[in-house]
Symmetry: C2
Subunit: 708 residues, 2 copies
C-alpha cells in the first residue's frame, strides 16, 4: 500500500541538498505515500495559476510561500488565510512573494502553495520526536495555545498499534473534548487513530525523520485532515548499540547470578578491606559453589586456597568479583577474558563517576572483546538469595523471598537492604547497577523473567541508557511479572532544544510516564513506595475483577479508604441489593451497608468474621479492604488471627482474593499489622493510604498484563 519509493526519493533529495527540513509539498508527498489525509492543494508558480488552483479547490483557501530558505512562514509574511475569490488569490500571490523577498532577499522561491482551508471540528496535533533513549515516539494532543501552556500531550513508542493509538485519545487531560461537549460533534476516533498509526510507521520506517508535526489536524465526525505538515530530518544516525539476543542475555545472566564457581579478585584476609568483606559474605552467607580468592602473595584466605590469577585456577569460573583499585581492573579483566569467564562484578569506583571516563571506556572494550558481561563499576555488588550468594561488601542478607530489587545508586541499595531487613521482606535478589557500563535494567528483567524464584521486579534508576530496549523487554516481562520502577530525576527541568511543537512539548518525565504505562510498568512515586510495592504486591493474589469492597469498623477510616480508592484508580463496587441485605444481617441497625460496609466500632470479632467471609465468598466481589478499629471487644491480635483464619479457611475452598488492611488503634496494632502481613494480608498501622496504594499497584499490574 505504502509508496516507499516516493519517500526515499524525497528524503534523498533533501539530504543531497543539505537541508534539515522538508518543504510543504515534500511533506505532503510523504503524507500521501503513507495515507495521511491532507487538504486539497497545489503549487502555483504565478498569480494566474494561483487563481485557477483556488477556483478548482473551492473557496476559502489558504496561501503559503514555498521556499526551502524560509522556515518560519508566518514571520516572513508568507501566509494568507481565508482567500475568498480568484481575484483575491491573484492579488495575494504577488503580495506573498513580495513579502518573502523583503524578508530574505536571496531566498529561493518555488512558488505559492494554494490549499483547501479547513474550518470547524476539533483542532488536534499529531507529531513525532526522536528521544535519545527511547528513539521514535509518536505524540497526540489538542491544538491551540492553551494546550501548549498546559502541556497536555501524550506519547507512545513508535510504531503503535491501532489500539495503542486509540488509547492515546483517552490519555490526555482534555479527552472529553473529543467526545463532543456542549453540543459539539464527537470526532471520528478511528480516523484519528489511523492517522496516529501512520505517522508512527512513517517515522519508524525512516529513522532520519527526527521530528514531525501535523499541526493542526482538523478532526470532525467524518474524518481527520492534517492542515499543515512539518518534517525535520537528521541524517546523522547514532551507532546502533550492541545488544546481545535475549537468549544470550539469559544464558550469561544465569551464569553470573547463579554461578557454580566465583573468583574474588583482590580477596583479602585483612579486616575492613572490601576484598575481605566479600570473602566473608560469600562464606558466611552459605554459598555452596567454589570460591577462588585471587591475590598476588597470600597462600590461603579464610580457609580457601589462593591463586595468583584467575588463569591459574584449574576449574571453570562463572563470575569474577572485583575488589581491587580501578587502575588495576583492566588487566585483571583481560585475564578473565582469557580464562573465558562470562561475568564480572565490578565493585570498584574511580571510573566515569569520578572523572575517569577513559578507564571505563577501556574496560568496556575489553568486556566486548572477550564477551564478558559486566555489572557496575561503582557498585555494592549483588545478592541472590536462592543460592545464598552475597557477592557484596555490604552486610549479608538472607531473608528469602520473591522480590528482586535493583538500584542505580549505592545509597539507595543500602536503603533497600535496610528496609528489607526491617520489614523482613523476602527477596530473591538485590543488585547494584552503578555506572551501568554494560549490564542494565533490561538485562536484569530478562533474567528475572525466567527466574522461578522471582515474582516481582522493582528497580530504581536515574536514567535508562537504552530506553527502547528496556521498553521492549518490560512490555513482555510485565505480562507475567509485575515490574515496578522508581525513576529518579523526574522533576529535573529536562528542557531540550527542539524545533517542532511536539519536540517542545516533550518533557523527559512525560515520556517516561507514558512509555512506562504503554509497557505495563508500574511507576513508584517515592522510594518508600518502591519498597512497599516490592513487599506487598507479590503477597497478594491476582484479582479476578474490578469490584473492590471496603469493610470497616471505623466509619472515619471508611471515608479515608474510599478517598484512597479514587486516588489509586480502584472501583468501589456499587452494592447489589441482595448483597447489601446479606451484609446488613451481620451488622447493627445503625451500621451502614452499601460500600464501605460500616460494621461500627463496638462489634465483636464475629462481626468482622461474618462480613469478611461473606465478602470472600460472594463471586461478585473481587478484592477487600479492611478497616480495623482497636477496641476492648475486638483487640488487635484477636482481629489479626481471625482474619488469617478466615483467609485460610477460604483458601482451602479455593477462594483467594486480594485483601489489605488499615489498622487504627494504639501501638498493639503494629504487631497485628506485622502478623497480617506475614500471613498474606498487607496491613498498615496508622495509615489508610498505604494499604490501598499496594492494592492499587496490584490492580495496575493486572490490568497492564491483560488479566482484567
Amino acid at each position: 500500500m505504502l509508496d516507499k519509493t516516493v519517500v526515499r526519493n524525497v528524503l534523498e533529495t533533501v539530504r543531497t541538498e543539505g537541508r534539515q527540513a522538508l518543504t510543504a509539498p515534500e511533506g505532503k508527498m510523504l503524507c500521501d505515500a503513507y495515507g495521511i489525509t491532507v487538504p486539497k492543494e497545489g503549487l502555483a508558480a504565478n498569480a494566474d495559476e494561483a487563481a485557477k488552483l483556488a477556483s478548482d479547490i473551492g473557496f476559502p483557501v489558504v496561501m503559503k510561500i514555498v521556499s526551502p530558505d524560509i522556515l518560519h512562514k508566518t514571520e516572513a509574511g508568507g501566509v494568507v488565510v481565508g482567500v475568498n475569490s480568484a481575484e483575491e488569490a491573484r492579488e495575494n500571490y504577488d503580495k506573498i512573494v513580495a513579502n518573502a523577498r523583503s524578508y530574505k532577499s536571496d531566498a529561493k522561491i518555488d512558488g505559492v502553495q494554494v490549499q483547501q482551508m479547513l474550518t470547524g471540528g476539533q483542532e488536534v496535533i499529531i507529531g513525532a520526536v526522536t528521544d535519545g533513549s527511547f528513539g521514535k515516539l509518536v505524540a497526540f494532543g489538542l491544538g491551540g495555545i492553551l494546550v501548549e501552556v498546559l502541556k497536555d500531550v501524550t506519547f507512545r513508542l513508535a510504531p503503535v498499534t491501532k489500539s495503542e493509538a486509540l488509547s492515546m485519545l483517552d490519555s490526555i487531560q482534555a479527552a472529553e473534548m473529543l467526545k463532543g461537549v456542549r453540543g459539539g460533534d464527537p470526532v471520528n476516533r478511528e480516523a484519528l487513530a489511523d492517522m496516529i498509526v501512520r505517522v508512527s510507521e512513517l517515522v519508524n520506517d525512516y529513522p532520519e525523520i527526527s521530528e514531525l508535526d501535523l499541526n493542526p489536524v482538523f478532526a470532525t465526525e467524518d474524518g481527520a485532515i492534517a492542515a499543515d505538515v512539518r518534517i525535520v530530518v537528521d541524517y546523522d544516525q547514532p551507532e546502533p548499540r550492541h545488544r546481545p539476543s535475549q537468549d544470550e542475555i539469559v544464558e550469561a545472566m544465569n551464569r553470573i547470578m547463579r554461578p557454580k564457581a566465583v573468583a574474588v579478585i583482590g580477596a583479602s584476609a585483612e579486616d575492613g578491606k572490601i576484598g575481605n568483606s566479600v570473602m566473608k559474605n560469600l562464606i558466611n552467607g552459605g554459598y555452596k559453589g567454589q570460591i577462588y580468592p585471587i591475590h598476588p602473595k597470600a597462600e590461603e584466605i579464610l580457609g580457601h586456597k589462593v591463586y595468583r590469577s584467575v588463569k591459574d585456577v584449574p576449574g571453570e569460573i562463572d563470575t569474577a568479583i572485583f575488589a581491587i583499585p580501578a587502575k588495576l581492573v583492566a588487566n585483571a579483566l583481560t585475564d578473565c577474558g582469557e580464562k573465558g569467564i562470562p561475568g564480572a562484578v565490578l565493585i570498584p569506583s574511580g571510573f566515569a563517576e569520578a572523572g575517569a571516563p577513559e578507564l571505563q571506556d577501556e574496560i568496556v572494550k575489553i568486556g566486548r572483546k572477550y564477551n564478558i558481561r559486566m555489572m557496575g563499576p561503582n557498585i555494592y555488588g549483588f545478592y541472590y538469595t536462592p543460592e545464598n550468594l552475597c557477592a557484596t561488601f555490604c552486610t549479608a542478607y538472607d531473608v528469602k523471598g520473591s522480590a528482586a530489587l535493583s538500584s542505580q545508586s549505592g545509597g539507595i541499595g543500602m536503603a533497600i537492604i535496610g528496609f528489607s531487613r526491617s520489614a523482613q521482606m523476602g527477596v530473591s535478589a538485590i543488585v547494584g547497577l552503578g555506572n551501568k557500563s554494560d549490564i542494565d535494567e533490561d538485562d536484569l528483567l530478562a533474567f528475572f523473567e525466567q527466574d522461578d524464584n522471582t515474582k516481582i521486579i522493582a528497580q530504581h534508576c536515574e536514567d535508562l541508557k537504552d530506553g527502547r530496549a528496556f521498553a521492549e523487554v518490560a512490555k513482555r516481562v510485565s505480562k507475567t511479572k509485575p515490574v515496578v520502577v522508581l525513576k529518579a530525576g523526574r522533576t529535573s527541568a529536562g528542557a531540550k532544544a527542539a524545533s517542532s511543537h511536539t519536540g517542545a512539548l516533550a518533557g523527559d518525565d512525560k515520556i517516561y510516564e507514558d512509555v512506562f504505562k504503554q509497557c505495563g510498568v508500574i511507576r513508584a512515586r517515592s522510594l518508600r513506595q518502591l519498597l512497599e510495592f516490592a513487599r506487598g504486591v507479590p503477597v497478594l493474589p491476582t484479582p479476578k475483577g474490578e469490584n473492590v469492597v471496603i469493610i470497616t469498623g471505623a466509619g472515619g477510616s471508611g471515608v479515608l479508604l474510599s478517598d484512597a480508592c479514587v486516588d489509586n484508580g480502584l472501583d468501589l463496587m456499587s452494592m447489589p441489593d441482595d448483597l447489601d441485605a446479606a451484609f446488613r444481617k451481620f451488622i447493627p441497625p445503625f451500621g451502614a451497608a452499601g460500600n464501605p460496609v460500616d460494621i461500627t466500632g463496638g462489634e465483636p470479632p464475629q462481626t468482622y468474621k461474618n462480613t469478611v467471609k461473606l465478602g470472600l465468598e460472594d463471586d461478585r466481589i473481587h478484592a477487600l479492604i479492611l478497616g480495623y478499629w482497636h477496641t476492648i471487644v475486638t483487640p488487635p491480635m484477636v482481629f489479626a488471627k481471625l482474619m488469617v483464619e478466615v483467609k485460610e479457611e477460604m483458601a482451602a475452598k479455593g477462594i483467594e482474593k486480594p485483601m489489605v488492611a488499615s489498622l487504627a488503634g494504639d501501638v498493639e496494632v503494629e504487631e497485628a499489622a506485622e502478623y497480617l502481613y506475614q500471613h498474606g494480608i498487607p496491613a498498615y498501622a496508622y495509615s489508610t493510604e498505604l494499604p490501598v496504594e499496594v492494592l492499587g499497584a496490584k490492580y495496575k499490574w493486572a490490568r497492564g498484563a491483560g488479566l482484567l
Copy 2:
C-alpha cells in the same frame, strides 16, 4: 462610590415578581452600580431603535432578546452576533422577536438588547457561588469549553482583597495565558483583579445573590469588560447559625480543657464499663483537680465520694464527662445546666449517627438554653496533657509536647494515639469531635491559639459545619501557629445542581483546597502525612528565607531529594561561586558541589561536619536537607550524634535553621533517625520524600503566615 439604592431596587423588583434570575439590563444596572465595566449597550423596543442604537454604539454589535421568561437565549434563537450595519440591525430585530415568539408564544418580550461586540484579548470568567458551608465564594478562570472540561478555576471566600484577587490570576493551571504567550499581549492584571474584588463585594453585600457569572470577560492590555452577566437570586436565606464571640469561646473552652473540677456522670466501679475507664484515666493520668463521680446508688468509686447528681456537688464544676446511655443524657444535661456547668463531654453514641437525630436536637436545645458548650456526642473524649487530663475511656497518654490534634472520627482518634505513642510524639491535646453537635474545629482553633502549650494544630475532619467560621478563625490563627487539616471525603463525587457555569465548576474539594490555601491552612494529603506534620513541623525552627541546600553522602539520594523539593514547592538554591568553592574545599575532587552538595559515600564524619557547619553558618542558606549513606567509615549513630552536636554548637551562637534528614542504610539507621528526631532534626530511614514533605509543610506555613 457604590450606588446601593439601585441594587436594592432591582433586587426588590425581582423578588416582587417572583423571579429567580435578573434580566440582562438588570444585571447591567448592578454592574454599573458596582463599577464593573460592561459593553456599551441599550434596549431597543423596535427595529428602528435597534438600527439607531447600533449606529451610536459602533459596529459590530451583538443583539439579544430581553425577556424575563426566556433564560436560555441562544436556544431560543434570541442572539445574533456580528451585526455590521444599521440595515442588518433592523432585520435582526424582527428575526429575533419572531424566534422568541415561536420558542415561547406567551413570553413577555421587553425588546432587544443591542450591545458593543467585543473581540480580541483573553476571554475569562469571573463568577460567584454560594456554598452551604463556606457561603459566598468568588471564582476566576479562563473562558472557553476546554477550561470547563479541565475545571481550571480557582475560588476564594468573598469578599476578597485586591491582593487576594491578584493571587487568583496565578492560581489557575493556565496562568501563563494571562501573561501573553506566543506574541499575545499580557492582560491588565489590575483591571481584572478590580473586577474580581467588585464581584466579591457585590455578592457579599447582597446575600440573596446566590450565583453570578461574568462570562465571558474580555481581558486586554487596556482593561477588562464583562460581555455578559448572569445573576441568579435566592431570597430564602438560611437562619444565621448561633456563634458565640471569640472571647466567649475562649473562656468556655478554657474551663472545659483546663478544668479545676470535673464530674463523671455515670462513673462506675465496675471494670470494663466506660464510666470506670474514665475514672481510672482521670486518677491514674495524674489529674490534680477535683473529681466528682455521679452515680444513682454508689457511695464511693475508686476512693472518690459519689454524688447522686451534679446538683448535689457542693463546689463549682467546670466539665461534666458523660458516660451514660444516650437516652439518659438529656436529663443529666439539664442538671448540668441548672448547676451552671459550662462544658459537657458527651462520650455516648446513639444520637444522629445511629439514626436518632431527635435525641441530638433535644440536647442541642438544652445546651443552648443553659449555655453549655458540648463536645460530641459519639466521641472518645479528650486529652489535655499539660493538666494530666485524660477525659476519655481510651488508653491514657502522657507524652507532653506541643501538638494539638483532633479528629471527627473515633477510629482516626485511636490512630492518632497509637502513632503518637509509637513515635513518642509530644502532644498538648487530642480531642474527639464526633457528631459536632456544638463544639467544632474553629472552637478548638480559638482555644489552641491562646494556649501556650500548643505550637501546632492538626485536625482531621469529614466536613465543616460552618466553613465560613472555620476559615475566618483559621486565617487568623495560622498567622501564629501552623494549622494542618486532613479533609476526608475529598474525592467524593460532590456534584451539585447548579444553574450557572461557575456553579457547575465548583467541586466541593476544589473549594476546600482553595479556601484552605487562602487561610494559610496546610492540607495533609493522607492520614500519615497529618501525623508526620504534627510531629515534625513544630520541631523545626522557622526558616528565614527560601534557599534550601541538600548535603548528601549518597548521590542517588541527592537526586531523589531534589525531586522531592520540586514536589513540595521548595527552592533549591543556585549556589554562588564563592560558596561553591567553600564547599569544594571539604569534599573529594570527584564529588560534586553545586546543589545538591554531593560529598560522596566514602567520607569520614568530619566531611559531614564541615559541610553541614558551613551550610548553617552561611547567611545565604536558609534550610538544610541531609542525605546520609550508611558506611563503615561513618556509622549511623556517629553521624546522628555529630549532626546534633553541630546543630547545638550553632544554636549556642544563635544560628537556628530547619534541618531534616534522609537516612539510607541498614537497620541501624532507624535508631539514628530516632535520635536525630528527638534532637530536633526530623529524620527518616529508607525515605527521601518524608523529610522533604515535613520541611515543605513548614515552608508552606511560613509563607502563609507572611514570615517569608
